[in-house]
């Protein structure tokens, strides 16, 4: 695992990674539902969702102001805000934090944009080391079919249009995603991802995830983490949408 800060807290951190269309968000939602049903306090955080940074990111995207470096830095700022304001306090409180994408997304995407591997790994050194990192491995074509089949317009940066790979948005997206996939595959060893075969059925994948969670942090889930009895009204549903 790259140089992250050790998790010295009561809570646990579970993260999912993979290219767009790998099915990781669906699986994470199912996993957090399962954890909640066992009366575990679950918190959820998503890549690129900080309120503080939102306006700046929106402006940069709309006016196409980003370079690979500022794109990388604004996402790191977003991540830092979520870490300082949410992830770390939740871990301290003893929650099981489920994160949809983590620093590895930057390691893959920013490097695919031409940012240095070494620099971006250092950039995220303040991140808490995940207890479990899942990687959803999927062949490029399968993921592309899921994305391009189901959705209309690809956005400029999402498709890697800033790199001038192709004038055709879909073609650019293909090339960009294939670079990202290469980066994920190249870091899989270094990171120690738990690899999930994302071509399997949804049920199979979920079984596999639950087994890993049970094996890796099953004891802590029983004894250490914060409990949240099922059926109590909390008034605020700040977690992942339940599928």
């Amino acid at each position: 695992m790259p140089q992250f800060l050790p998790n010295r807290y009561r809570g646990k951190l579970i993260i999912v990674e993979g290219i767009d269309g790998s099915g990781k968000s669906t699986q994470l939602a199912l996993l957090s539902q399962w954890l909640r049903s066992q009366e575990i306090a679950v918190a959820f955080s998503e890549w690129n969702s900080s309120e503080l940074v939102r306006g700046t990111t929106k402006l940069g995207k709309k006016k196409q102001m980003f370079t690979p470096t500022t794109f990388s830095l604004i996402h790191a700022t977003d991540f830092a805000d979520r870490s300082e304001r949410y992830l770390v306090p939740m871990l301290k409180a003893g929650a099981v934090v489920c994160a949809d994408r983590y620093a590895f997304t930057a390691f893959a995407r920013d490097v695919a944009r031409g940012v240095s591997r070494r620099w971006v790994r250092n950039l995220y050194r303040f991140a808490v080391r995940p207890s479990i990192a899942f990687y959803f491995r999927v062949p490029l074509n399968v993921a592309l079919d899921r994305i391009l089949g189901g959705r209309a317009a690809l956005k400029y940066y999402e498709a890697g249009m800033d790199l001038g790979l192709s004038r055709d948005v879909e073609e650019s997206f293909r090339v960009f995603q294939s670079r990202i996939l290469d980066e994920y595959e190249a870091m899989a060893q270094e990171v120690g991802f738990h690899v999930i075969d994302a071509t399997g059925s949804i049920e199979e994948q979920q079984q596999q995830m639950r087994k890993v969670v049970h094996k890796q942090i099953g004891e802590s889930l029983k004894d250490d983490v914060l409990r949240a009895p099922v059926g109590r009204e909390y008034g605020f549903q700040g977690t992942a949408p339940v599928l």
Binding site: L52, L59, T70, L73, D81, R118
Partner: protein, 244 residues
């Protein structure tokens, strides 16, 4: 961050930049809050333009990308230390890539009010990891000169008291638990900043200038030193029209 020749990257080259194309001069004024940097920059710009040099000046938190976002975050008092460091680094990178480097390519003199060193000093004052921020900020270009307007803490306090008249939230490090009130907090925080800058002064070859000198004296010192950097390229351009 090793010491390198001017207009080389400190540590990490930015993608797509050829340093040998950069022909201008990069001049940095550093120093703690309210030490008189912007006054000097305004005068230097006027003088340099009189000499026939094209000048741009830039400064911290002025990038088109992040200016509003940083301002709003500061007003809300909601920036954690790591978030603050990275937000300011984003601002710096945006100005570096979109203002500073294009101007240097075109042969301008770039005057910058603070550089990566203030970002680093503030991060270090907030107990962020020094190696981390040095490497993050390693995308900066080595300037031709870094003038450090150095003041003791008593002098800074006097400037605040007779100047703005209040100890500003962020300049007092109110975001970190450091003192019982604004004044105490300002002292402790600014002392940390000064200490961090003093350490960088050694390692990065700052030219130290005593900020308690009169502004016109400081200006003369800066002028003399900058003349040496810019050399004779501007000579003749300052010819008085009346005498031609």
């Amino acid at each position: 961050m090793a010491s390198r020749a001017p207009l080389q990257f400190y540590d990490e080259p930015l993608p797509g930049i050829d340093c040998s194309e950069l022909r201008g001069k990069l001049i940095v004024i550093e120093g703690p809050d309210s030490v008189g940097r912007s006054t000097q920059i305004a005068q230097l710009r006027f003088w340099l333009e009189q000499q026939g040099h094209a000048v741009i000046d830039t400064g911290m938190a002025r990038s088109a990308l992040t200016q509003r976002g940083i301002q709003q975050a500061k007003e809300g008092h909601t920036l954690g230390p790591t978030t603050m460091t990275l937000f300011y680094t984003t601002d710096f990178a945006d100005r570096l890539e979109n203002e500073i480097i294009p101007a240097l390519r075109a042969g301008f003199v770039v005057l910058t009010d603070r550089y990566i060193f203030s970002i680093m000093a503030r991060a270090i004052a907030r107990r962020q990891d020094r190696k981390w921020i040095e490497q993050v900020a390693g995308i900066a270009l080595v300037p031709h000169a870094i003038y450090y307007l150095r003041a003791e803490i008593d002098d800074l306090v006097a400037r605040v008291v007779v100047g703005r008249g209040s100890f500003e939230y962020w300049e007092s490090g109110m975001d970190i638990p450091i003192g019982r009130d604004r004044y105490e907090s300002f002292i402790k925080y600014q002392q940390r900043v000064i200490k961090a800058l003093d350490e960088m002064a050694e390692r990065h070859d700052f030219t130290r200038i005593d900020a308690t000198k009169r502004p016109d004296q400081i200006f003369l010192l800066l002028q003399r030193s900058i003349k040496r950097i810019i050399g004779h390229e501007g000579q003749g351009a300052g010819v008085d029209l009346v005498s031609v």
